[in-house]
Symmetry: C2
Subunit: 131 residues, 2 copies
DNA sequence: TCATGAAAGTTTAGGTCTAAACTAAAGACA
DNA sequence: TGTCTTTAGTTTAGACCTAAACTTTCATGA
């Protein structure tokens, strides 16, 4: 079954990522938030949750820790919080993002460019079909 | 990046699985152990951990709950524990496994047979390259 | 206007997972 | 035999994640 393979690949890359990010004291979840907010500041917590496919309760908890470490700030605005990187958060983001992309690219290097494109296309079809 | 797609597909299928298994009061982690032990009884905890790509500490915790619910039994043997399904565990296993396989097959049905085979082949190459 | 309801965020209980420290049982070898 | 190391399992602290209950704030329409 393809699902088992997909699980294994996910687990392995996820673990490699986790170990890599530990160098900056970042967890995978925190990196996800950092990357998302870094890519478009001013998002609300709910928007971040939706885009990462996690609950808003989870985002709230992860943000508590990241705010505590001075990487992200919540700017209240009516009933929402708008999220921004602090200067420290921006510095980490600028350093981690390319490094993380390099790690992923290295992990996928067993596949040729064409094969990677094939894989991407198949996963995209699947993703779309899953709503 | 293909990795983002893979993450999304994993998350979506994982959530769907979790919701489906809730009907039997099973978590995804518990189902993993149940399926592994059900497929070859007498395994040690370390063997289960290795085959699921998780730590032995994690397996120990999950087993505590499953043993508490009467699905699995530990049979001490020297310094290892051999794992077996109880009759109740076997009953759940026999019922859940086909249902779970049907769910996965349904979730992957947006891809043709050939496409699924392609996907499986690409993931297998990737998996092997990841040690 | 104001009551009702929907939406954003927070909190909590409970299961998952890891890393690391710990215990106990084998095995190995001088 | 006695010590030394390895291996299996357990425990613990800490982060993650969800579901569900809760609070606050906004929006809507009678």
């Amino acid at each position: 079954m393809g699902w088992l393979r997909l699980m294994r690949v996910y687990q392995k890359v996820d673990r490699a990522t986790a170990e890599h990010l530990r160098r900056w004291g970042l967890s995978v979840a925190q990196f996800g938030v950092l990357a998302r907010v870094g890519a478009s500041e001013g998002m609300t917590q709910q928007q971040v949750a939706d885009s990462l496919l996690v609950t808003k309760g989870n985002v709230c908890q992860v943000l508590d820790r990241m705010e505590g470490r001075g990487w992200i700030s919540r700017r209240p605005e009516g009933r929402t919080n708008r999220l921004f990187l602090t200067s420290g958060g921006r510095r980490v983001f600028d350093e981690v993002l390319p490094s993380q992309e390099a790690l992923i690219s290295e992990r996928f290097s067993a596949l040729s460019k064409g094969e990677q494109e094939q894989l991407r296309a198949l996963l995209q079809m699947l993703d779309r079909s899953l709503g």
